[in-house]
Structures are given as structure tokens and as C-alpha cells.
Symmetry: C2
Subunit: 279 residues, 2 copies
């Protein structure tokens, strides 16, 4: 079914303990749509500058990402520069150049208006609602946000959330939003973590891509979608930028999903475990 | 099968955001043996002072904990005083009075020497080895430790670990010991967390109790034992001190294990998920 993403397409400069890259392909909508592309077509709404390399446009187009909503404007592309320490949990932002992303006004091509599955990447919650206003009858809406919006545009964010079915945030953001301690659900151990950039958006892309492909939102589908999000995120972080997703195949996705299942499995208890002793 | 624990029996004073208690029953060996007692008998090695209330001795005895190794000495019982903030992850120690625990020399009664399953609670790694020296042919040895021993008695701890099958530590301790980033495995969301004291030892008790009852260490048993550890820990933290474990029944253990299974379950992928599209 039709899946729409709005977010950033960016050029990232990233330092990790394992190396560094300059001006590589990045951005929330990029990671999302690449991860989701394994399950079906994706409609992208984003903006880039005149300096955005044509090879990246081809990369997305070849994956079946609909680029009718990719606006190319005078100016430079959004750039993010960050560093990860050995504790790869936290991105330290060294520099943000919003450039053409600074006054991004998401406009949906007419052909996008019937989208059923919608992912609102981490942008101003006012803009997130403006996107929803342009979708005729969204069936399932997921949303990302960050500490900046929770702190500075809380009321607007809450207004957006009333129209959202699922919110993707980390534990600190969940606490900040809820104003109280929040318990965390299971995560999966990663064998190999190289560059965490894009993990959350790849998770969202795997989740929404799978959901849109399944076409129903029952609990068993949502569970598989969550695991599929973890699968795509676990691949995304194995190399810089979109490199690992670019080389990824369906068989690998299926195999890792199987490993996750294997990892999470445990049997029922023996019926005679307590055999009448004690209470 | 025969299960031995060495560790502390203590009187705890605990403050959490939900209340406070003075001089309640606590200690690693107490939580461990109570949690393990659901699965079979437990042999305890610990020391208490003259002031240790007889009702606590009866509590343990009534649960089938063998107290031949509980030494009662002149002086006061080990006391720990701690506080948890709203972030219930970290215990802030306000006061530690080692008292008779300060020169604890664990001596095993002759009848304990054939123990097959051994849990070495968080004590000086020299003493942990002295306990192992007194066990004839241990089949499976698990061990707890903490940042203090990792920092101050690293060589001795490493010597102990050579004789240990399983180590229980938190993520920070694992990093400190390994000297590098360590990936964490799944945890389970807790619906209700009241007082985290004893969670780790109750986990160890549920794990080792189940393992000793099963009598074999195959991967499928170890997995169920880990979940069983989480089950016992999740109950222990619902109330102060040993209160929740004291009122716990086999049916509740079985039911929560079932909930954990339900929580962790997700199905296989559809065979036709990718149906020939893409790679």
C-alpha cells in the first residue's frame, strides 16, 4: 500500500571511533525510504540544494523511491556534522547548516494525496500537521520528534500527536514528553555497530515498510513490524551512511529476522516444575 | 539438585520515592535464597550479629533454606542504608556498616561440601575462591561482583572468574571489567517498580533455583532460567524488602512466566513477503 515519508535529505559528516566521512548521503527521509524500499514503493517529500549530487538522486530512484516530492531549490543542501564517542549511544552534533531545509514548506504532489501510510520525520510539528492536512485519508500515521521540539513547541507537538498512531522516540525523549519515568521495552543485542547515524529512521522505515506491505495493523503484524524495524536498523549501523542498506538483499533481511526470532525464543515451562511442593 | 549460596544477610534501611523502611530484612544471600526456594532447597552460608531478629531466621527456615551455614556472632548485623531517586536505576548508598560481615570467613558445614550448584554473592573475590575450595565437585558456579572489586582486586577477581561458569553484572560493571564497550541483551518492561533493592540477587536466585531444579545446562534450559530470573526479580521489586517474595505463589510465577513469553513472542515472516521483487 502507498507509503509517504516527509523529512530531511542531507549531506552528513560523521566521525566515529572507527573512522570519518565527509558529505556522505544522510537525512531522516533518506534512511527511512531506503529501509522501507525493501517492502514496496515509497513516496518522498523533502528538499535539497543545487549542490546535491545527482548520483544520490539516482540511488533513491533505483530503489523505487518516488521523487516527485523531492524539491530542488537554489542554495545548499542541509548539512549535519556529528561525532560519536566510544559510547555510541549519543551523537554529539558539531555543526548544523540548515540551508534550504531552514524554510522547508512541504508540498505534496497531487499524486501523493491518497497515501495510506505516513511517516512524519523529525521536523517542526507545525509542518508535520501541514503534511497531514494534505493527505486525504491516512490509515496509519507514525511520527518522529526530538528534545528540541518537545521543549520549544510542546503544545504544537501534542496537537500533532492527536493525529498520530505511533510515535518513535528514545527513552530520554519519552520521559521528557511524559514528564515521568517511562519503562523501556526490549532491545536486541547488536553484533556489529559502526556508525549509529540513521538507526532510528531505518527502524521507522523497516517498521512502516513492513506494515504498509502487510496492509493491516493487528497486534501480531505490529510485533513483526517492530522486529523488522530492528532488523533494518541493525544493518544500517554496520557501515557509514547508506552503504550497508545499499548492498542489502532480501535473503539477508529474512535471515537476520530468523536470528532475532531464534534469539528471542524460549520454551514454555515444564508442567511438573513445582509438582505440588510449596504454594 | 543441591544449591549453595554465600553472601550477605543484612538489615536494610531504604528510601524510595514511594516510601521508606528502617532495618528490614535484606542482603544478597537473603534475596537469592528466597527467590531460589520456590524451586527446591537452598543451603545458605552467611553471618549475622546478636541483634538479628529471630523472626527472619524463621522466615528463611520455613521456606526450606538450610541454615546450618548461618553463623551468629557477637556484634551487630551488617547494615546498608540507601536511597533511590525517581530514576530507580541507581542505588545511592547513604551508609554501610559492615559489622560482623567485615571479617566474614565463610566456612562450609561438612554437609554442604557436595553442593552441585553454587552462587557466590558479591563478596571479596578471595573469599569467593575460599568457598569454592570447600566444595568437592561443583557442577555449575555463578558469581556476582561490583565496581569496588573490579577496581581494587582485579587480579583476584579474574582468578575467581576462571572457576566460574556464569557472571551476573550490570552493563557498567561489564564495561569496567572488559575494558571496552559491551552490548546489552534484552530486558523486560516492568509494570510496577517500587523498591529495586535485591533485584539482582532475586534474578540470580530464580536463575540458579530453576537451573538446579532442571539439573542440566543446555541452551534451552539456560534461556528459561534467564527468564525465570527476570520473573523473580520483577516480583521482588514490587514491594519493600522480601515482602513480595514472601507472599508469592507458584501459580503467580507460572502466570508471569507466561506473560513474559506472550510479550516476547513474534511470528515467522510470511513466505511470500518479498515475492520476487528487488533483490
Amino acid at each position: 500500500m502507498s507509503l509517504l515519508v516527509v523529512g530531511s535529505v542531507a549531506l552528513d559528516s560523521v566521525e566515529t571511533p572507527f573512522g570519518r566521512r565527509e558529505d556522505v548521503l544522510g537525512g531522516s527521509a533518506t534512511y527511512f525510504s531506503t529501509a522501507a524500499s525493501f517492502f514496496g514503493p515509497v513516496r518522498l517529500v523533502a528538499t535539497v540544494g543545487e549542490d546535491f549530487p545527482e548520483e544520490h538522486v539516482r540511488f533513491l530512484a533505483e530503489r523505487g523511491v518516488d521523487l516527485a516530492g523531492l524539491e530542488r531549490r537554489a542554495g545548499r543542501t542541509f548539512r549535519w556534522k556529528g561525532r560519536y564517542e566510544f559510547d555510541l549511544n549519543t551523537a554529539h552534533t558539531l555543526e548544523t547548516q540548515l540551508n534550504v531545509f531552514g524554510d522547508f514548506q512541504p508540498a505534496l504532489p497531487a499524486a501523493y494525496r491518497d497515501s495510506q501510510y505516513v511517516f512524519l520525520g523529525n521536523i517542526d510539528p507545525d509542518l508535520q500537521r501541514r503534511v497531514l492536512d494534505q493527505v486525504e485519508a491516512p490509515r496509519f500515521v507514525a511520527c518522529d520528534t526530538m528534545n528540541f521540539w518537545i521543549g520549544s513547541k510542546r503544545q504544537s507537538l501534542l496537537e500533532t500527536l492527536r493525529r498520530v498512531d505511533m510515535l518513535f522516540v528514545n527513552d530520554a525523549e519519552a520521559r521528557q514528553l511524559a514528564g515521568e519515568h517511562v519503562f523501556a521495552a526490549s532491545a536486541y543485542p547488536l553484533a556489529s555497530l559502526f556508525d549509529p547515524t540513521g538507526a532510528g529512521d531505518s527502524f521507522a522505515g523497516g517498521f512502516m515498510g513492513y506494515l504498509a506491505r502487510a496492509g493491516r495493523e493487528e497486534p501480531d503484524v505490529l510485533r513483526r513490524a517492530i522486529v523488522m524495524g530492528s532488523v533494518l536498523a541493525s544493518f544500517a549501523v554496520e557501515q557509514f551512511s547508506l552503504d550497508r542498506l545499499a548492498s542489502l538483499g532480501h535473503d539477508e533481511i529474512r535471515a537476520r529476522y530468523g536470528e532475532f526470532r531464534q534469539l528471542a525464543h524460549f520454551d514454555e515451562l515444564e508442567p511438573d516444575l513445582f509438582d505440588g511442593r510449596g504454594r
